[in-house]
Symmetry: D2
Subunit: 283 residues, 4 copies
């Protein structure tokens, strides 16, 4: 993995945006490793992502930013520059089920998912030992009494651990609206159905009752509307009449893990741009 | 393809059903080619399907039936015996889009789908020439004026052509409840979404608006509840942010075709048994 | 479908290529609809594809070419400019099996695959009526006697019908090396296995013997090495122990059709660039 | 999970086998939970698997065996009766890569995979701490000096830990032929390619060089022929030209894990029957 900067931009579409941006990069000797573009047709809004080799540029991200600002203004850009040397910090929320957590921590300890995990927070004690074996602080938050206080504590922990992203890795509690709004675009959930089918509780039971022939999982940003936020990634797996709800839960775990892992990867590599309630994912 | 009889049975579960049925078959020298069993746990209801080589039995289906009846009564069976030499008769309803029809007729003329297609009925003239090239009668039914009369005509055609199954191969009209009830379990539709997501009109537009990352198709029996009948088969295909509604429609056509073809195959081979609003599919 | 030009380029990688090309386009008011880039790391070779709205440019493809030439020379580019208004001409070779042909002609007559099909050539008469129903000339070429003469005739037909691409849609004859070389990068085959497994004849029988749990199909450019040319597209489908060779053939037809259709689509939209014996496919 | 017995049988095909076996079961009040049958056509060999509720039978597995023996002899059956209360014992061999091991141990500690893992053996020390956190003995075997001695030690450990199955969970050493033969049908490997493509070392590099558009993984029984044993389960995942060998390795890990997990599950639930160099898998 080389050291690179990732420049993500969105702005109203017009002629010459790519030329202007790549001209700016080329003018400073910047070597583009990966480039992606997309124009949303309904709003005529343009999105781009450039990965630039860090050592091909003669300046730091700060200087890049100050030099790039006039160009960005000219095109009314919303933009962001990420440095691959600065790892994103994921604060993970779990309840009792550990399959997504196990998968995340495995990818983390093998450096497949290049992030820091400053802490894991849970409303149950069950997973303490496993998390602590990894050398990661495990923080228990009591949720049965005062939920508002519990969520205030979670927000405080997220801040004090300087989290970038809050990951709900099968966290079986609904976040309060204020939290969803405060960290808009920074909270990622894995829902155990193929959304928009089977919103809410017990989606595998719903799927079993409906008699579907495939079940799915969805990784999405959390908004104040339950299970209705922008979708980052989804997948399905085939089932048949012989499968019980327990079988669905078991098959489902495997897709939940991989769908969350892929969605998180896109997110931490700055491959996901928001476009209304939809996502642009530059793979 | 050898000549065989297919015996399908459903009854309350208890000990000894398989033994009794296979004992009966063995006693007459019947050679079982394929056998499937399933017990639905909630209702404790048992389902089975046996394919028996026709020439291994010393009698006709009629005699089989009369000899088998006492056993069937003993176990309170609902049962059916199909003869592979007697092809099912599919009456196909289409509108303007021909991808499912083209696929069906191709499978039919190559004898992959072993059925008779006595006629194709449409509320548009567009596909007449293609259908007639196959030597199949094409019947136009005017639907813009009097829908009730049109559906009465369709029912009459279905009867006069001695149809077993009515296939809605992208027929863009909603069937009246009386028709759905009259031919319960005999009308098969292909819906262009992954049900229960995106019921009703323009599911690809709905999918586009929601920003899903996969789209799907569903083959199901038609009931009086729109797009809510027992599901026979489903599949999904991956899309991304760059795909327009037209792209979704294009990708969708490919899964609609294969999902309908698989669902129909299961149906005409008597592999589908109804269990409430769900299907048992013995593949 | 809007009218657009597609510019495809490959050249040694260095700083500033994207900036130079998009600068050139922007300078003439060119509106980029879709853009893709890729750098092959081993050879440090750069590939790009730009789709430009035709009416945003003030000149014809000829003038574009003459103005672009100096820039292309500076970067040692191999490049090509295609006009979406000029349809590619596919000459299709078939034998007796018609599933790929049926699929292609369906996509053609619905304008999903935007090509001209000036003729279909076959070493059997079986499919004449179906092809001619489409208004497409069907030409029978006798292959049992003198294969060299037959292939000379095929090449002559390809020339006289001004074919751009020769499509082997389950053509069960091996092309002579001279033909493969003469039309390098312009002959597309569908092979009925997941290459490199099961090269050559009867791949479904080979798959059955080996006891694999998935079978596949591969769309590739034809080279002088049998089934070893650059792969454009592949897919697999799950089978199980109960499936006979006939079942494999049946399942296989469905993936052959879709894999060939996808591969052809990429090819005719100039999305496939050759990189040694591999392909870059800008989807 | 209810307590059940699993009866697996293979014998020459003839009329009346199912009737005889299910008659025997019914006669003793046995309640069949799941039943599967298959006749291999080339050899006319019959295979069956019955799951019987343990408490529906009035006797132990020993008595079942002694009463069933005469029937088994009559039909020249090879047969086996497994008790779900007696967990299979998996001895796991690993090297340095831990993704399959992590996945296995997660499924084991959540009781998804109902087995005992008496020990994990490795030719590297890397994974000791992780294994021991689970309370499972980790045994290091030195392999750089004397391979024969090392494999003798592995065999001795397998015996002393009373292993039923030896699982090569990305164990990067080739087993000696004698070991393969001694534990025929009891050694399971995960190979990181879609066999028979890319046998042997570095399959992801081979796949990258060939330019395939999908990569795969294969779970199979180990025989003396390298990567050529009976295949239990396979799967593939889509890649594209932009993926490096490292990306292939990363994608591959996810399918290796799930393919091994599924294959092992089938094996420990006695769903896999050998038929020459192929497997019958009763899912």
């Amino acid at each position: 993995m080389t050291h690179h900067y990732t420049l993500t931009i969105s702005c109203p579409d017009r002629t010459g945006i790519i030329a202007a941006v790549t001209g700016f990069i080329a003018q400073h000797g910047g070597f583009i490793v990966e480039a992606n573009y997309y124009t949303e047709q309904e709003q005529q809004h343009f999105f781009m992502r450039q990965e630039i080799r860090a050592n091909s540029l003669p300046f730091t991200t700060e200087e890049f930013a100050s030099r790039f600002a006039p160009l960005a203004d000219e095109f009314s850009m919303r933009w962001q520059l990420a440095d691959s040397a600065i790892k994103k910090r994921l604060v993970v929320l779990v309840s009792r089920q550990d399959h997504c957590l196990d998968d995340l921590l495995h990818r983390w300890r093998n450096d497949e998912l290049r992030v820091d995990i400053p802490c894991v927070i849970s409303n149950h004690e069950d997973l303490r030992s496993f998390v602590e074996w990894h050398g990661i602080p495990f923080i228990y938050v009591e949720m049965r009494q005062d939920k508002a206080a519990a969520f205030a504590q979670i927000a405080a922990l997220f801040e004090s651990y300087r989290g970038d992203t809050l990951v709900l890795a099968r966290f079986m509690q609904i976040l309060p609206p204020a939290l969803c709004q405060r960290y808009s675009g920074r909270i990622i959930n894995i829902h155990h159905s193929f959304l928009p089918a089977f919103v809410g509780a017990k989606p595998y039971h719903q799927a079993y009752q409906r008699g579907v022939k495939l079940i799915g999982a969805t990784c999405h940003y959390v908004t104040i509307d339950l299970d209705a936020g922008p979708i980052i990634e989804q997948d399905t797996v085939r089932i048949d009449h012989g499968d019980t709800v327990d079988d669905l839960v078991r098959y489902g775990r495997d897709i939940e893990k991989t769908v969350l892992a892929r969605g998180l990867r896109y997110h931490v590599e700055d491959r996901v741009l928001l476009c209304g309630n939809k996502t642009i994912v530059f793979k």
